[in-house]
Subunit: 579 residues, 2 copies
């Protein structure tokens, strides 16, 4: 006879009972006061008035609020520079029980083996991680990833059960134009949630995007865009991460029509170790919503039941009989802008107690081998020089960076010429930028110019360079740039700050050039040191490594650079240096 049902009926004692809880009910959006929640194995067996259930252990929580484990519907774990175990630990202690991860960074850097690595290292953690099949590797034809993941690769990911849904389909122009390769990927995913990425797409183009079956979007940045997408049936993932903060802007959607909470969730998208330390994970999104005046239980639905329903995870998203025993206890008797997560259970196991000590084994040491390409073909000082054409040139194209936006401009500026070569000009904030292909050591590189970083001397570089993640270095002189490229190659990826022949500071990211084995405090500390070094070179923009990492992302306008050269998607592709 089955134990779960006997516990539910009250005929066998539960493994443990949470007594006298104030249960946050995400179905009816009310608190249920003074209840027993009986747990049997990994599941919730029963909920009833306090004192109803007997258990081998009774945990009286004295009226504190009990919430379901929270769900992040869209996050790129690689952006934290931590492996899944490292990320899981800090997410878990903030009350997260499940995340939907899109591993397209590691898929660009290590192909299918990167995806397999993420999947393997995600087993047995204090949170469940479900993966979206990365649908856009490469992000465009102008980027050079480790490997192209085509429609057959997508099918393999599902056949191997590595993925639960289709990851954000970023190549919206291809979907809209009916491109066979992207449609093949969508159809290969089969009957799973197809997640989208359609910034600013509207009208007939949005209709064309949606007839594919793609059913969600996390790129809305204003109410009109969000309303149009809701009306056409999309689920909205309202983004609130480290760099994109859309929550306050989009909350009126819920305030004007509470039923929209049944079709909206709140997600992280891009997130950093520092954000997790300083703010938290889904809990900080809850606090923001409370501060903005949203009914806390409606807010809670959007980080629990709504994402569970969108992703068809019927075993979670609420505290209810038969669902997984994933829940957290807060430090108070209400959810408000000040609450803190105090105790956490996952699958019926307590993974955080009051004193914030992990009661589960730390899985960070569980590692799988990953492919690493040693880059040997590094350009010489001579090779990265830009010779003025014999015909001369009025202007050069320069990537224009503006702080606070990921959009760049195509600037046309007068070149500074020395000895027949175009050189960086720190007096006008024009630095040189070099991208070197690193996945297959082809030695292919491209050189361009960038304005807006504020760099006065030296160089800084990274192997985190969306989405293909080749080596990118920007600098005020060629020697510093070559030193940075060499240092990146030595580390097998990471971040570096150089001045002439000297490495001022560096931080290795051995896993695909994206992640390391450190915990969030160590990652954050390393990053702070790197940023301080960069500041010493005169760089005044905030988060310079993040800014640098986006200069290679060709799917965002305007001018970008990859190992194939300048790219401006709004102007049709590859661009020349000389205007």
């Amino acid at each position: 006879m089955n134990k779960l049902v006997a516990v539910a009926r009250g005929e066998l004692p539960a493994d443990f009972v949470i007594r006298n809880a104030r249960l946050a009910n995400v179905f009816t959006l009310e608190y249920e006061n003074s209840v027993d929640v009986a747990i049997c194995g990994t599941k919730i067996a029963g909920i009833a008035k306090s004192g109803s259930y007997d258990g081998k252990k009774i945990i009286d929580v004295d009226g504190r609020v009990m919430i379901p484990g929270m769900i992040d519907g869209h996050v790129h774990i690689e952006d934290t520079m931590m492996t899944p175990p490292g990320f899981a630990e800090i997410a878990a202690i903030h009350g997260t029980s499940t995340v939907m991860a899109d591993p397209h960074e590691i898929a660009n850097a290590l192909g299918m083996s990167g995806l397999e690595y993420m999947f393997k290292t995600s087993q047995g953690l204090p949170i469940d991680i479900f993966f979206g099949a990365p649908s856009c590797v490469p992000a465009s034809d102008f980027e050079t990833p480790y490997d192209e993941l085509d429609m057959i690769a997508i099918k393999n990911m599902f056949d191997k059960n590595l993925c639960q849904h289709l990851g954000e389909v970023m190549n919206f122009p291809a979907v809209i134009s009916g491109d066979a390769e992207i449609w093949g990927k969508i159809l290969a995913a089969g009957n799973v949630p197809l997640t989208g990425h359609a910034p600013g797409v509207s009208g007939k183009n949005l209709n064309a995007y949606l007839v594919s079956g793609i059913s969600s979007d996390h790129e809305c940045v204003n109410l009109d865009e969000a309303r149009e997408k809701l009306r056409l049936g999309m689920w909205l993932m309202i983004r609130e991460g480290a760099s994109f903060l859309d929550l306050k802007t989009l909350l009126p959607l819920i305030q004007e029509n509470v039923l929209n909470a049944a079709r909206c969730m709140v997600v992280s998208d891009d997130i950093t170790a520092r954000y997790l330390i300083e703010n938290g994970h889904m809990d900080v999104k809850m606090r923001i919503m409370c501060r903005e005046g949203l009914d806390p239980l409606v807010a809670l639905r959007m980080v629990t039941l709504s994402p569970a329903e969108y992703f068809r995870l019927y075993d979670r998203g609420a505290i209810a009989p038969g669902r997984l025993a994933d829940f957290a206890l807060l430090d108070s008797d209400r959810i408000d802008e000040n609450f803190r997560v105090q105790q956490v259970w996952k699958n019926g196991l307590q993974i955080m107690s009051d004193d914030d000590v992990f009661t589960r084994e730390n899985n960070s040491d569980f590692l799988a081998p990953v492919l690493k390409t040693r880059v040997k073909n590094i350009p010489t000082l001579e090779q990265i020089k830009i010779k003025l054409p014999d015909s001369g040139a009025e202007n050069i194209n320069v990537i224009g960076v503006t702080e606070g936006t990921v959009i760049t401009k195509t600037l046309q500026l007068k070149p500074l010429i020395r000895d027949g070569y175009v050189i960086p000009d720190s007096s006008r904030d024009i630095a040189k930028i070099v991208v070197l292909e690193r996945h297959r050591d082809t030695g292919r590189f491209a050189v361009g110019f960038v304005s807006g970083l504020g760099i006065k001397r030296g160089a800084f570089g990274s192997s985190v360079a969306h989405d293909a993640h080749n080596y990118v270095v920007a600098g005020a002189d060629d020697e510093s740039i070559i030193t940075a490229l060499k240092n990146l190659a030595e580390m097998g990826g990471g971040l570096t700050v150089t001045d002439a022949e000297k490495v001022l500071n560096s931080f290795a990211l051995p896993i695909g050039g994206l992640m390391c084995y450190l915990n969030p405090y160590e990652v954050s500390e390393n990053l702070t040191k790197l940023e301080t070094s960069a500041e010493n070179l005169g760089i005044m923009i905030k988060h310079p490594f993040m800014v640098l990492s986006f200069l290679c992302l060709t799917v965002i306008p305007e001018l970008r650079i990859t190992d194939q050269g300048y790219v401006d998607i709004t102007r049709g592709g590859i661009q020349k240096i000389f205007a």
Copy 2:
């Protein structure tokens, strides 16, 4: 290149465009005025401002409301006495596009072949019919159906793709007690919606029912019961059919918390041909909700998007790009208590136009052979006599019928004795009732007494006798009863009214003794004639054949009768005649 996306983009003309529609948006719960809806093949390609899309045909609807095809989340088609084609036609013209049918009546009467018949005759109709695997055949051990459908049978139904979800799990005591056979059926269904039936179940028993994964219920008859079920995570199917009218009672659930509309739907459950003719189908439920003051768009969500989401039918439930072109046009510019459905499209085909003429071929003639057992073993006059025991008897047990409720009582009444036999006593409204096994012609029958029908003379009988659907006859004298049994056997099932050796009126139901090939008008007319004949025998209760049909249903308290004898589930099973 794919046509659907080209139409969406506006580069190819649509097959047709509904222009100037007032679209009822079930996502955002608002009207969108003056829109184009472009259709390509079976799907909606695009929605945009009127005049945006070009089409081979433009249908200007002059601001009339356009609603998604409506969805009935739970209905027993057999109760209409029509086959799926007959039912589909009248449902379709009322704006229904999809129904979730639980074929447990035909499954009791014809086993797996009955289910296959329903499935086959449901193809190519103007509505889509999805079946729930009948989980309770027989409904209890005290009923004798054509065949027992065990857990292996359930698995076969899914393996053959006959079923989309698990049909209502009525045997809640078995679920709660952890019975292996019913749990085996639930697990055999796999990862599909598991629909429930748990009248009055609450507290720990309800928890025990729900740990099975069953996730919905259509049996709530009051607000407290409904609230408890919602809190524990069940989806509510609010029932509004021919005999059970729960809508008005339960609407406050939505009025007090509009987000409940995301977890509630409105369903028919039991429905008759007459109800469909006189009231309509899902449209009448909409009119009732409007009359009760519910926001019409919230009401609409509960008969479109909400059931689609519960049943994981992501291709319907709303008018949106990529979804099926299932929709209806109303006769006015608003949804209110008086609207009528005027034009209907299913899969992009118009199936009803203004003048109410079917534009599709009527599929009623599409028939598959079904099994029929010829009953030859009919009891004799002598055999159905009830002899007083030698020891005498103070009282007999009598089924007590009360008009307006399906619950019966166990009455203990003094018997009327003649020549050593207990006989019916019309002066005290005590009739004799006989149930004869009909599926395997075993000749097994049982005799009992029933009070509350008002029958003065003659007998009336039926092969519709929930849930095993054996022959049931109630009468004021033995000869009329035998005549009725013989007539039922001759017809191979149906309804009959007899007086002594004469058949006053009869109506054959050749398909499993439950359904016929007639249309709803003919069915209703036949039934009216039968009821008039029954009235002539003195029967004063409304819908006597329906009342009779429920007297064999052992899963409802208190006293019932099957071919195995009296059954009272509240008193543990088989009961004797003499108290």
